[in-house]
């Protein structure tokens, strides 16, 4: 199944409406109101997470937010913005819980090596689901990093730019809400300034010219 979002297929009016609803929803909250998080058990309202379940990804022409916590294969915090700064990049978001997204990593790597020389390929695991069981909260990043190494080995990936970005899907500040990702993999093609040129949702039948 080919699922691809391009600029000319996105609806500016829907995005504008969602952005307005989202903004007004947040502004309507009194100071100190509980936003959804993983601490007090509150679930979000639609207004807090983009207006509905299926929100649109960051649109073409917008700068991709990168100011969320990101960790490298050594478990060290990194600045994702500096990873993509100054280079044309393909940032691929996936999670280990979605087989189709993990399987796509090798296909993307193979395609970019053959057809997109010089592209800065960056893979980001956008979740840490279940990683706390063995060892509690402190084990989340080490366990996720362990999984990254496992996936890299299992899928025979050459890239070293594999990261993990803990996500709280129920939070307005969560990675998935901020980036508008509901289907994975979602890949953002960025220019040297980190501005989105294309968005690819789901596995692709990659062809020359896509990147």
């Amino acid at each position: 199944m080919k699922l691809q979002v391009r600029h000319d297929r996105s609806s500016g009016r829907i995005k504008a409406a969602c952005a307005f609803v989202s903004l007004t929803g947040l502004l309507a909250l009194p100071m100190g109101s509980a936003l959804a998080d993983s601490k007090d058990g509150t679930f979000p309202t639609a207004e807090q997470v983009g207006g509905q379940v299926y929100i649109d990804p960051v649109a073409v022409g917008q700068k991709l937010p990168t100011d969320f916590d990101t960790y490298d294969m050594n478990g060290q915090k990194v600045d994702l913005g500096s990873v993509v700064q100054g280079r044309r990049s393909l940032v691929v978001f996936f999670i280990s819980a979605v087989p189709v997204s993990v399987n796509e990593l090798a296909a993307i790597e193979d395609f970019t090596q053959k057809n997109a020389k010089g592209i800065n390929l960056v893979m980001v695991n956008a979740d840490t689901v279940g990683a706390a069981l063995m060892g509690g909260p402190k084990a989340v990043i080490p366990n996720s990093v362990k999984t990254m190494h496992f996936i890299k080995k299992e899928k025979n990936l050459k890239t070293t730019k594999i990261y993990v970005a803990p996500n709280d899907a129920l939070s307005a500040d969560g990675v998935s809400t901020r980036l508008g990702i509901r289907g994975l993999p979602t890949s953002f093609l960025l220019d040297e300034k980190g501005v989105v040129q294309k968005v690819f949702v789901g596995p692709q039948k990659w062809k020359k010219g896509d990147i």
Binding site: P44, S96, A97, V100, V129, G130, I181, R182
Partner: protein
């Protein structure tokens, strides 16, 4: 097992008559169903006579049949005996039995342990457990009660699904059983035979670009007669989405199908689709998809059919204002209710008496649950006066059970029964509502019995192992209408 004086004397006399046997060899002293007469709690539990409760232990890996009137476990079965490493008995439904103490059949689903409870990311965990559906049999006809596997339905049909199971009622009584799974987005309908035959299967896939839902009949291989979806095959996501994870990034096509519930009087069933907040209504005479209800407040009553191509029905789903979880019919069939949750926490109430489901309209919503308590499961009573709902909550909140008057659709009672509450199911006489809580698979857990008339908590029993579901064995096909068939 303790022996009361009456039993002792009965056994001793029997032994004496036999002349040689010791009391321990006397079958009458050690009947397979314990008589608690003379025991201090006999009066308390005696009123539950006739109710055998099946309790699958999600993280204990076993199922037990419990006589609520003693109470005691009549028999139990460890699914590890079937060769499964870390079995997770998940949902359950029972066939009716006029004498459940003598015997009955039931269905049990199972899923792998990969879930937010365990480290699914870990390579050590990813191959543990399995998707399974079993036809099981309780035999209480002899001196030693037992539970055994009748059929491994996944192996028989080639399709293994791990979430809700529900048995047909009304026009579909004594014909079908339905299985569903949200990791594969599939539904399987089989007959009720000991070697079940596939009747129909569905698969649901969302197209997030076109914003359309495709619901397709899928067919087994013509040569083998089986599907190729045993075990993890066909899995879109490695764990069943927890409540709230409808917002989690997932396979783009994933919609988290959860259950198939049966209309008690009309020839319809509903495929519950969590992530889209929709219920697909299926005509069980033809298995055609005839309507797609959109249950959120603020959305239309249903979404339109865009096209039908062969055995695929394509519906437009332009927006999803909230996911849902369970949905089903009240015992009379007059209403179809849907538990909207996560983004909206309310219960949509459709009038469901029209023979054209596209004419089913949302008449009202049960509201006022706030942002911490999610409508989850529903339980019916025989006369449809009330509907019980599980209001689930994340830690550190317990959640609660509420009772809703089906005339006013207002909450008339609620109970904080314990942390992580799950399903509700009525006793065979309609007097009591049973419900389980599982302590998030680790902490406080138990079975609570509520009095339907006076709202008193009548009993609380320990249930180690995290009971995620349970069912009271119904006494008849009519009784199945207020068991776990019309609702889940």
């Amino acid at each position: 097992m303790s022996i009361n004086r009456r039993q002792f004397m009965k056994g001793a006399v029997a032994a004496g008559v036999a002349g040689s046997a010791t009391m321990l060899n006397s079958g009458s002293a050690f009947a397979a169903v314990h008589n608690p007469v003379g025991e201090a709690q006999a009066e308390l539990f005696g009123k539950f006579k006739g109710n055998v409760v099946l309790l699958p232990s999600k993280y204990g890996g076993y199922v037990q049949a419990m006589d609520l009137s003693v109470p005691e476990t009549l028999a139990w079965y460890s699914y590890g005996l079937h060769g499964i490493d870390m079995p997770i008995p998940h949902h359950i439904a029972s066939m009716p039995s006029a004498d459940p103490y003598k015997g009955f059949d039931f269905y049990q689903t199972m899923q792998p342990p990969a879930s937010p409870y365990v480290n699914e990311n870990s390579p050590e965990w990813r191959n543990r457990g399995d998707f399974k559906m079993f036809k099981m049999r309780y035999d209480g006809s002899g001196k030693q009660n037992s539970i055994s596997v009748v059929n491994d339905i996944g192996e028989t049909t080639g399709m293994s699904l791990g979430v809700h199971v529900s048995i047909g009622v009304g026009e579909n009584a004594n014909k079908y059983v339905a299985f569903a799974d949200g990791q594969k987005d599939m539904v399987l309908i089989t007959d009720l035979g000991d070697v079940p035959k596939t009747v129909k299967a569905f698969r649901c896939d969302y197209d997030p670009i076109a914003r359309q839902l495709n619901i397709s009949h899928i067919f087994p291989d013509a040569t083998t007669g089986k599907f190729d979806f045993v075990g993890r095959k066909g899995m879109k996501t490695t764990h069943e989405a927890m409540l709230g994870e409808e917002l989690m990034p997932a396979d783009p096509t994933a919609v988290f199908v959860d259950a198939f519930t049966w209309h008690p009087t009309l020839p319809f069933g509903a495929i519950l689709i969590r992530r889209l907040g929709c219920c697909a209504i299926v005509d069980t005479r033809t298995w055609e998809v005839v309507a797609l209800l959109s249950t959120a407040k603020g959305s239309p009553d249903n979404f339109p059919l865009v096209k039908q191509t062969g055995f695929t029905w394509t519906f437009a789903v332009p927006s999803v204002l909230t996911p849902l979880h369970e949905a089903g019919f009240i015992t009379s069939g007059d209403y179809f209710v849907a538990c909207n949750n996560v983004l909206q926490n309310n219960i949509a109430v459709y009038r469901s008496t029209d023979e054209n489901p596209n004419k089913w309209k949302k008449e009202t919503f049960v509201e006022g649950f706030g942002t911490k308590y999610l409508p989850l499961h529903m339980g019916n009573v025989p006369d449809s006066r009330f509907v019980y709902f599980t209001m689930w909550a994340r830690k550190p909140n317990n959640g609660y059970i509420c009772k809703v008057d089906s005339k006013t659709w207002q909450v008339v009672a609620k109970w904080d029964t314990g942390p992580d509450p799950h399903t509700c199911d009525c006793t065979v006489d309609g007097k009591y509502m049973t419900t389980v809580y599982s302590g998030h698979q680790a902490g406080q857990s138990g079975l609570v019995v509520l009095n339907v008339e006076n709202d008193k908590i009548e009993a609380r029993l320990p249930c180690p192992g995290g009971m995620h579901d349970h069912v009271v064995v119904p006494e008849s096909w009519e009784g199945l209408k207020f068991s776990r068939s019309t609702s889940v």
